[in-house]
């Protein structure tokens, strides 16, 4: 059957696609449209049944969308895209490099001739916590998360990296400063550290639980419930306890280091 592709914004007809059947999916439409005109990449294509309707999923079947031969699909170009995984890996690798570089080198352009020597142990522990957090994030990106979308707009990578790398530098600057003031209270440091660790475990537990809700290769969404893991009991109170634990981890980090900059590190 034939599908007419019309540009959603201008109403201009872009192509007439043949070799499609009632059981074809939107993905088939995208592959067919790719051969026409400007050969728009699959991930940049968005189709709708109405000019301002919702974007159709790749696996939706033409028949179930009430489309028949001669029907129109409305097209929108999503612009240059970048993979979700790519963005995550780049935005999380940056903070690791930035923080550890500032911690290790205590660069001249930041601190002048001042040097923290010897360092307070808590500064090293904080660097360790930071490393743990971002290494965990990178590993989760590679092995745990199941993403709903393959790509996002390219401009996001600049915005996201600016945010993550910028705040990493901001926090690292203060915690590793030669004039850093050690928290007076040892109990405070211990509680902060404990809180941080518990929240990291909690956050990981939620990520794993969410992963297990979604079969591999699918983009299904199910309502999460608490599992055998006590950390997942937060599902009984909130929908996304991963954020709860994230806030908890950074609040603990702030208490542990007694550093005002820590309040800005809620890397959501």
């Amino acid at each position: 059957m034939e599908i007419v592709v019309v540009h959603a914004a201008s109403g201009k007809e872009l192509a007439r696609l043949n070799n499609l059947s009632a059981s074809s999916t939107i993905l088939d439409v995208k592959k067919t449209f790719h051969k026409h005109g400007k050969k728009v990449a699959l991930h940049r294509q968005a189709f709708r049944t109405e000019p301002k309707g919702r974007t159709l999923n790749d696996n939706e079947v033409l028949k179930s969308l009430q489309l028949s031969s001669g029907s129109t699909l409305y097209f929108k170009d999503l612009g240059p895209q970048v993979g979700w995984k790519t963005v995550f890996l780049v935005e999380y690798a940056g903070p690791l490099v930035v923080y550890l570089a500032i911690y290790w080198f205590q660069p001249r352009f930041l601190y002048g001739r001042l040097h923290a020597d010897p360092r307070f142990p808590i500064t090293t522990i904080a660097a360790g916590c930071w490393t743990l957090h971002y290494t965990k994030r990178l590993l989760e990106t590679l092995f745990v998360h199941r993403f709903s979308h393959a790509t996002m707009p390219l401009s996001n990578i600049f915005k996201n990296c600016g945010y993550y790398w910028g705040f990493a530098a901001f926090i690292a600057y203060y915690v590793n400063h030669p004039l850093y003031t050690n928290p007076a209270n040892e109990l405070q440091m211990k509680l902060g550290f404990l809180g941080f660790m518990l929240c990291e475990v909690g956050n990981l537990s939620i990520h794993v639980a969410l992963r297990n809700l979604r079969p591999a290769g699918s983009t299904e969404r199910k309502i999460p419930v608490a599992t055998w893991n006590p950390f997942t009991s937060l599902f009984n109170f909130v929908s996304c306890p991963n954020y709860t634990y994230e806030i908890g981890a950074w609040a603990s980090f702030t208490v542990m280091t007694q550093c005002g900059a820590g309040t800005y590190s809620y890397n959501l």
């Binding site: 203060y174 004039l179 850093y180 003031t181 007076a184 280091t257 550093c259 005002g260 900059a261």
Partner: protein, 223 residues
């Protein structure tokens, strides 16, 4: 309906008061010039007016936030904030002749007074459906020279204040301290100046687009 008339009354009252406030500053300036022959040095005469009237503009953010006025909260907040920063953060805080009686202050004051008298008049006249085309035209045309003049005055004033901010460490926090934070108002002022570079063109172009939309292709006067 009662609520509608109350909100209308309030908005007319607010905008009339603001028109009066900015007009008063204009009149004081004219009076000062007549008495002293001096274009500068009027800060001492009108600083209370400037502080009170410009601070009242904070209400405009609330008007947007509560939906009383249909405008972007963020845009309004940014605009009001920049004024508050200049008035309280720079002009009031740095009691130096070059800041309070300088060319920069005169330029920005002139731009602000004319623009605000026009803007607030536009608002209350529009609400009462009594807007003469002349006022609408002025509001959407005067900004063309006034906006750059005002920006120049603002930048000049901040620049003049910089050495005093640096030396006095005004509003700043230094390391070491128990909270491990630091803030340099001097650096903040410089960053603010730099931000004018991307922000001013954006706002100016926005106003030009508004002008085209509102004054644009009209060949008849609207009532």
């Amino acid at each position: 309906m009662l609520q509608k008339s109350f909100t209308t009354f309030y908005l007319v009252f607010y905008n009339v008061m603001m028109t009066a406030g900015w007009s008063s500053m204009g009149l004081l300036w004219i009076q000062h010039y007549k008495n002293t022959g001096n274009f500068f040095g009027v800060y001492d005469k009108l600083h209370m007016w400037l502080k009170v009237v410009q601070s009242m503009a904070i209400l405009e953010v609330l008007h947007c936030a509560t939906g009383l006025v249909r405008s972007s909260v963020w845009l309004t907040a940014a605009q009001v904030y920049s004024r508050i920063f200049l008035v309280w953060g720079i002009i009031v805080s740095v009691s130096e002749p070059i800041v309070q009686h300088g060319t920069g202050f005169a330029l920005l004051l002139m731009a602000w007074v004319i623009t605000e008298v026009l803007r607030y008049s536009f608002y209350w006249l529009t609400i009462l459906d009594m807007l003469p085309y002349l006022i609408k035209w002025c509001r959407y045309t005067f900004f063309i020279p006034l906006y750059p003049i005002g920006v120049f005055g603002e930048l000049f004033t901040i620049y003049a204040a910089l050495p005093y901010l640096k030396a006095s460490r005004l509003y700043s926090v230094e390391l070491p301290n128990a909270a491990n934070i630091s803030f340099s108002f001097y650096v903040y002022a410089i960053v603010t100046m730099v931000l004018y570079i991307p922000v001013f063109p954006m706002l100016y172009c926005h106003m030009l687009r508004q002008r085209k939309k509102i004054l644009g292709n009209k060949t008849t006067k609207s009532n």
